[in-house]
Assembly symmetry: C2
Homo-oligomer: 159 residues x 2
DNA sequence: CGTTGACTTAGAGCACACTCTAAGCTATAC
DNA sequence: GTATAGCTTAGAGTGTGCTCTAAGTCAACG
């Protein structure tokens, strides 16, 4: 006797609806059933679910996770494929973090922009600001341009 | 004469379809039309679009961006609201990055797991591994548990 | 003056990830 | 033996963000 679907829902914060959806998508082929046909989650199933949750929450689509789980069901012959899944996904996550970090800088620039505008009472103080994005910036791959904050010195004193 | 929609698409990597979709959603109320009724993007419109792209790519939903744009159209009276948009969004992005960083550690653990399993020829070497997630881990808010890598020493030597 | 190409619109369709409903089964409690 | 609670299923519906189609307008070129 392991856990029922609602106990797992309670433990994980994943709704029973979503757990059944994941099962239907082939993400939980390892979960057994009891005599009544109800799902019976073992401890080892929870470990699988933890890995699935990690991949899911870090942005891997359901279909790719399914591929990984399928490989897991095949046993040791797929160890290399599964390693590659994580090595590839690591790169994806790191790139996503780098991109977010770049946007964070832009957000800080805008915070500076609005704080100074509020000081002066109008955004017109920034009217000559000529903030043109590079090709890389539009595509989120790199943000080499001067920040708003660097231009702070060029503003006149508030009245 | 500014830029046509396809010139902007070319410059930004955002398709003309998507630009029209954004316009329909109220994200581009500042874009004027020429005599023929075609959109005519000015430099200042591109700056708006850069800000919208930053918010979009860092995870803000279209509806929230629309609220921000609406406030922008109202002028200086909404400077404080717009500052708050960016300050709130900054927190959201930082939390997302912290969560990704935690999942990255889990991914590294799994890379270690598969690398050692490949060394030994079987994942059975990790069979006694008892990796139970805490409540926080399931919810992605904190990852305080011991990593797989810490347990490296407890493995027997490969045969 | 007709063809071409780039634009316009409304609205349909799609992909993804849930989220929920309806109908039904089963084990236990009274 | 029947009420209740908790599970089961298939499948419909929702929200988000595009993505595309169809039908049409318009300006310039030859």
């Amino acid at each position: 006797m392991g856990y029922t679907i609602s106990q797992v829902a309670e433990m994980t914060g994943i709704t029973a609806h979503t757990l059944r959806f994941y099962d239907k998508q082939g993400l939980l082929p390892f979960v057994d059933r009891n005599k009544a046909g109800n799902r019976d989650f073992k401890e080892s199933d929870l470990e699988w679910l933890a890995v699935i949750t990690c991949l899911k929450k870090s942005g891997m689509p359901v279909k790719k996770i399914r591929q990984y789980v399928d490989w897991g069901m095949e046993g040791d012959v797929t160890l290399n494929q599964r390693l590659e899944v994580f090595e590839t996904h690591k790169k994806v996550v790191m790139e996503k973090m780098a991109e977010l970090d770049n946007y964070l800088k832009k957000i800080d620039d805008k915070i500076w922009y609005y704080k100074t505008a509020i000081d002066y009472g109008t955004a017109a103080i920034h009217s000559q600001t000529n903030c043109v994005w590079t090709d890389d910036e539009w595509r989120g791959t790199s943000f080499p341009s001067q920040s708003y904050a660097d231009r702070s010195a060029s503003l006149p004193a508030p009245t």
